[in-house]
Every structure is written in structure tokens, then in C-alpha cells.
């Protein structure tokens, strides 16, 4: 197991390297320059020399390979550099936002699982009945309704009904659970709906598929109670693809809350990302993308471990 983990972590390196190269190159094509923006964005009139001096200070005048090398050296030492906008360490900037985003992602995942498992199972077991149809509409609705619109509707609804909006300032849940939850439950609901839709569809289709398997017929032929057929024989097998979906979606939420954070005015990673992109804050964008990629890869690893835990074929190897 230790060796396996070590190997998996080693195989992450090329992927991360690929992400690093790709994002680095992509950003260098972006037109505009943070220095111009910084000095002129609000109407300032710096001289050409001033602009150039600032570029030199930020290292933007160096040839690309030098910039890249510098960044790579930083990456290896887990130093993501400094934001070109605030000149604060990128890691520090990200750390300040990650908690919120992570919590929304986790809450959305929990909400999704709580909704999707029963719904998906129900609609699989009553396949093609009206229950199935109704659930299907609800779930496809989850895929269709843009979460930013849903978020807007939630806020507008709260304002309309109570002249109240969720608190704006993030407090960690262990400091003030009530304030924390009353802020984050709404965005979690807005994205959790979509997530649960994706998951419920996967649960449904994999249960439908599993219920067609020979071993389900075997279980029935043994006279196993129907609830055990579903609970013991079908669900565990059906959970395998669902675990993948949960992992994937969770990982995507870390960077994918961009729009929702905008709507709910959350100080999360997504908003930081959009701000960094629009400001051409290259080091920051690179840092965030690397963090997202790491989360993605680590989540994949966890999914694989969960798979192994659920699936003895992986745990004990094939014949």
C-alpha cells in the first residue's frame, strides 16, 4: 500500500508538470499586462519608464524560459511565488480562500449524496414508472437550471421574503457554526442541486445496470429478501461508478464555484481565480490552477482507494 501510494504520487508528477507547462504558456498569450492595469486601470498616467521599471521589478521582462524556470523551482519547493497584484505569497492568498470553497464543495457533496442516493435508487427500482419519470424530470432540471440563476433566485427570494441576505463574512464553522452555515448553506444548495442531479442519474443507471446482472438473478434464485438483494447485492456494486462521479464532481467544485461565488459574494477560490484572470495576475492564476490540479489528482487517488475498499477485485488483484 505504501509503495502503491508512492508510485501513484510519482505518476502525478508528469500530469502536474503538464498542467504547469500548459497554464504557463496559455497565460503568456493573454493580452494585457498587470502593470498597465495596476497603474492605469483607474485612470493613472504613469510614464513609460515607470511602467518598464515596474515590469522589471515583477520579472515580467525576463525571457519566458527564465520566468518558467523560476516558477518551476518555486513549485518544487512548494513556493508558488507572489501575487503580482498584491505581492502577497500566493499560497497565503489561496489558503485564505480555500477553506470556504472546500466547505461549500463538501457541503454540496453531502447534500448531493443525501438527495441522490435515495432518488437514484428509487427511480432505478421503479424504472419507467411515474416515480421514475418524476425523478427524472427533477434531475434533468438540476442539469438544466444554471446554478447561477438558481443562486440569483434564492437570493432574490430571501430578499423578497425577509429583506435578509446570508451574512457576507466567512467565519470558520468551528468558530461560529450558525453564522457559517447560514452563509454557506445557500450556495451549497444551489450547486448541490446540480451535483445531486448528476449523481442521481449515475446512481440510477448503474443500479439499473446492476439489477440486470447475473448475480442479482442468482441472489433472487437463492430466495434472498428483495431488500437484501438491493441493499447488499446491488447497491455495493452500483456504488462503484457513483464514487467516481462523487470524486470528479467534488474535485471540479474546487475550481468550478466561479459563478456561484460571484452570485453569493463569497470570498472563495473561484472568485479569486476570476479576479486573477481578469487582472492578468499570472502567478496567482498559475498557483490556483496548480492547487486545483492537485486537488483533482488527490481526489482521484482517494476515489481509487475507495474503489479498492469497495471492490475486492482491485483490493486483492486479479488472477
Amino acid at each position: 500500500m505504501g509503495a502503491y501510494l508512492a508510485k501513484r504520487i510519482l505518476t502525478m508528477i508528469p500530469t502536474l508538470l503538464g498542467v504547469a507547462v500548459l497554464i504557463f504558456l496559455m497565460l503568456r498569450v493573454v493580452p494585457g499586462d498587470i502593470v498597465e492595469l495596476k497603474m492605469r486601470g483607474d485612470g493613472g498616467a504613469p510614464t513609460v519608464e515607470q511602467v518598464q521599471a515596474e515590469r522589471v521589478r515583477l520579472g515580467l521582462d525576463k525571457p519566458l524560459y527564465q520566468q518558467f524556470a523560476g516558477w518551476m523551482v518555486g513549485l518544487v519547493t512548494l513556493d508558488l511565488g507572489k501575487s503580482m497584484w498584491t505581492e502577497q505569497p500566493v499560497t497565503q492568498e489561496i489558503a485564505g480562500r480555500l477553506g470556504l470553497t472546500l466547505q461549500v464543495a463538501i457541503m454540496a457533496t453531502i447534500i448531493a449524496i443525501l438527495i441522490a442516493l435515495p432518488l437514484g435508487t428509487l427511480s432505478a427500482l421503479y424504472k419507467d414508472s411515474w416515480i421514475d419519470q418524476a425523478i427524472r424530470i427533477v434531475t434533468i432540471g438540476g442539469l438544466a437550471i444554471p446554478s447561477f440563476w438558481l443562486g440569483m433566485m434564492i437570493i432574490v427570494g430571501l430578499l423578497f421574503a425577509f429583506n435578509w441576505i446570508p451574512p457576507m463574512q466567512y467565519v470558520p464553522i468551528w468558530q461560529d457554526p450558525l453564522a457559517n452555515l447560514s452563509q454557506l448553506i445557500w450556495p451549497a444548495l444551489a450547486v448541490g442541486y446540480r451535483f445531486s442531479a448528476v449523481l442521481a442519474r449515475m446512481v440510477r443507471s448503474s443500479i439499473v445496470e446492476v439489477m440486470r446482472e447475473d448475480y442479482i438473478r442468482t441472489a433472487r434464485a437463492k430466495g434472498v429478501y428483495e431488500r437484501l438483494v438491493v441493499g447488499r447485492h446491488a447497491l455495493r456494486n452500483a456504488m462503484l461508478p457513483a464514487v467516481t462521479v462523487i470524486g470528479l464532481e467534488f474535485a471540479f467544485l474546487i475550481g468550478g464555484l466561479v459563478v456561484t461565488e460571484q452570485v453569493f459574494n463569497l470570498n472563495g477560490l473561484g472568485r479569486l481565480f476570476v479576479q486573477a484572470v481578469t487582472r492578468s495576475d499570472f502567478t496567482m492564476v498559475q498557483g490556483i490552477v496548480m492547487v486545483i490540479a492537485v486537488v483533482f489528482i488527490v481526489t482521484n487517488l482517494i476515489v481509487d482507494l475507495a474503489y479498492a475498499w469497495l471492490d475486492p477485485r482491485i483490493r486483492y488483484g486479479g488472477k
Binding site: 503538464g18 438544466a144 447561477f148 440563476w149 423578497f160
Partner: protein, 294 residues
């Protein structure tokens, strides 16, 4: 995403009828989509008002005969803009999904066919692309490419939406292609001494068509949603082009009391059309290949 080998029979002429019979809901969605397409093609004749005309005398008017969905804060007809918005959504949605699926499909087929080292390296690259959340990738690409409007369509936006689609399609099509590659009829083609090009184009490509077409419809829905999200973020379509996401952007929500129609109708338009494309994609999948999972 997993995929079983699609043994999809070709249904020709009466395919549509068979589809309608087997999948009435899907057919209804197809009807809705067709209506949407017609509306966007004939938008000029359908709309009661010019979607670009500002009328400061008619700001935030409630729905009426003249303005079926009311007017926005610039005095423009919301209904007309929703109808024209369908054009934007469909053109960008279909175009980017098409570009993404075709490129991804080709990459996937070629990968699946040749396998080996080529497949390995392309797969790693695809892994890299897949480790970006869609919206993140799209945001960066939008920022990277800027805008290039040709014939009213921002080609770079299309590319930005297509790029995240490419690796997804490539991955699914690759796995389909891998299993098709193992099919004896491909062996037969190899044993027949056909060229790689012939085998890929004549024997592989038509057989990955089912997953391809299913993914294509599903991604149209995603592309519409993504376009709306980007426009909402101010990174997509620009004013005064009528686009649903754009109609919700900026301070549209501020008018929730005075002019709720400003946010309700574009939101519904997005939801309904994405809904229709998804449901249609589902039905198509059930019809073409029930084992295919997206």
C-alpha cells in the same frame, strides 16, 4: 464514463418515426429543439420589436401585447431579445459542441486505433486538460484568445467552449474505439491489407458515431450552459448581442422587484433549452445504445 461496444443498427428512413414511437418524451424535446431552431432562424419575422432598439420611453415595462415579456432597463423588448438569444445560444452551443466533439472524436478514434505510445502521450495530455474544471479552462482560454467576431459569432468564444469538450469526447470515443479496435471486423480489415486511413475513416469512425452523436447532443446542452455562465461572468458574448446569460449579467437581478421579467424569462429560456437538449440526448442514448453512460 464507461462504454459498451455499441452494436447500433443503422436505422434509416423510418428512424425518426421509430424514435418518436419508442421515445415520445425525447421526440417532444426534439420538437422543442426544432422550434427553437426555427425561431432562431426566422427570428427576424417572429419578434415584435427590434432587439437592439433602445426606447428610453419604455423602460422596465411589464409584459404587454407590444412587449410580451416586458422591457429591460434599456427599454429593449425582452421577448425579442430572448428569441434572438436563442440564435446566439444555438449557434454558439452547436458550433462549439460540434467543433469540440469532432476534434475530440477524431483524436479519440486515432488514439484508440493506434494505441501504444501515441495513445499514451495523448492520454496524458488529455488527463492534463481534464484536471481543469471546465469553467476554469474556458475562462483562461477566453482571456487568452480575446475576441474574434466573424459574422456575429465570436469564434474565440466558440473555441473556448469547445476546448474543454475535446478531452471529454476524446476519452469516451477513445474507449469506444479501443473496444471497436478489438472487434473482429477491424481485424478483418487489417487482414485485408487496408490502409490505416481507410480503416480509421471507413471502419472505425462510423462505428463510434453512436457515442459521438449522443455526446454531441449532451454537449450542446453543456455548451449552452457554459456560454450562459461565461456571458454572466462578463467573459462571453458582449452587449448589445442578445444572449440569455448576458441578460442575467450585470445588474439585472437588481430589478427583481420592479421588473422580475428581466431575470425570469432568460433564466427559463436557458433552463428549458438545456433541459430539452439533455432529455433529447437521454432519449437518443436509450434509443441508440442503452448501455452507454455519460
Amino acid at each position: 464514463m464507461t462504454l459498451a461496444i455499441p452494436q447500433v443498427p443503422v436505422r434509416r428512413l423510418n428512424g425518426l418515426l421509430a424514435f418518436a414511437k419508442a421515445q415520445p418524451v425525447g421526440a417532444a424535446c426534439l420538437g422543442f429543439i426544432s422550434a427553437l431552431i426555427l425561431a432562431s432562424v426566422f427570428a427576424d419575422w417572429i419578434v415584435p420589436n427590434d432587439p437592439f432598439t433602445l426606447d428610453f420611453g419604455a423602460l422596465l415595462m411589464p409584459p404587454s401585447w407590444q412587449y410580451p415579456f416586458g422591457t429591460d432597463n434599456m427599454g429593449r423588448c425582452v421577448f425579442s431579445r430572448v428569441v434572438y438569444g436563442a440564435r446566439t445560444a444555438l449557434v454558439i452551443g452547436i458550433l462549439s459542441s460540434l467543433v469540440g466533439s469532432v476534434v475530440g472524436g477524431l483524436v479519440g478514434v486515432v488514439q484508440g486505433y493506434f494505441g501504444g505510445r501515441f495513445d499514451f502521450y495523448v492520454s496524458r495530455f488529455i488527463d492534463v486538460l481534464l484536471s481543469f474544471p471546465i469553467i476554469v479552462l474556458a475562462v483562461v482560454v477566453v482571456a487568452m484568445l480575446g475576441k474574434r467576431v466573424v459574422g456575429g459569432v465570436d469564434l474565440n468564444l466558440v473555441v473556448a467552449i469547445a476546448i474543454p469538450i475535446v478531452p471529454k469526447v476524446a476519452r469516451v470515443v477513445r474507449s469506444a474505439a479501443l473496444s471497436i479496435r478489438e472487434m473482429p471486423y477491424i481485424d478483418a480489415a487489417r487482414a485485408a491489407g487496408f490502409t490505416h486511413q481507410r480503416i480509421v475513416l471507413k471502419h472505425m469512425v462510423p462505428n463510434v458515431f453512436a457515442p459521438f452523436i449522443i455526446m454531441f447532443t449532451a454537449f450542446v446542452a453543456q455548451a449552452i450552459l457554459l456560454e450562459a455562465s461565461l456571458s454572466f461572468l462578463g467573459l462571453g458574448v458582449t452587449e448589445p448581442t442578445p444572449a440569455w446569460g448576458l441578460m442575467l449579467a450585470g445588474n439585472a437581478a437588481d430589478f427583481y422587484r420592479e421588473a422580475p421579467w428581466m431575470i425570469i424569462f432568460p433564466g427559463l429560456a436557458i433552463s428549458l433549452s438545456v433541459f430539452a437538449f439533455n432529455l433529447f440526448g437521454d432519449a437518443l442514448r436509450d434509443h441508440l445504445d442503452p448501455r452507454f453512460k455519460l
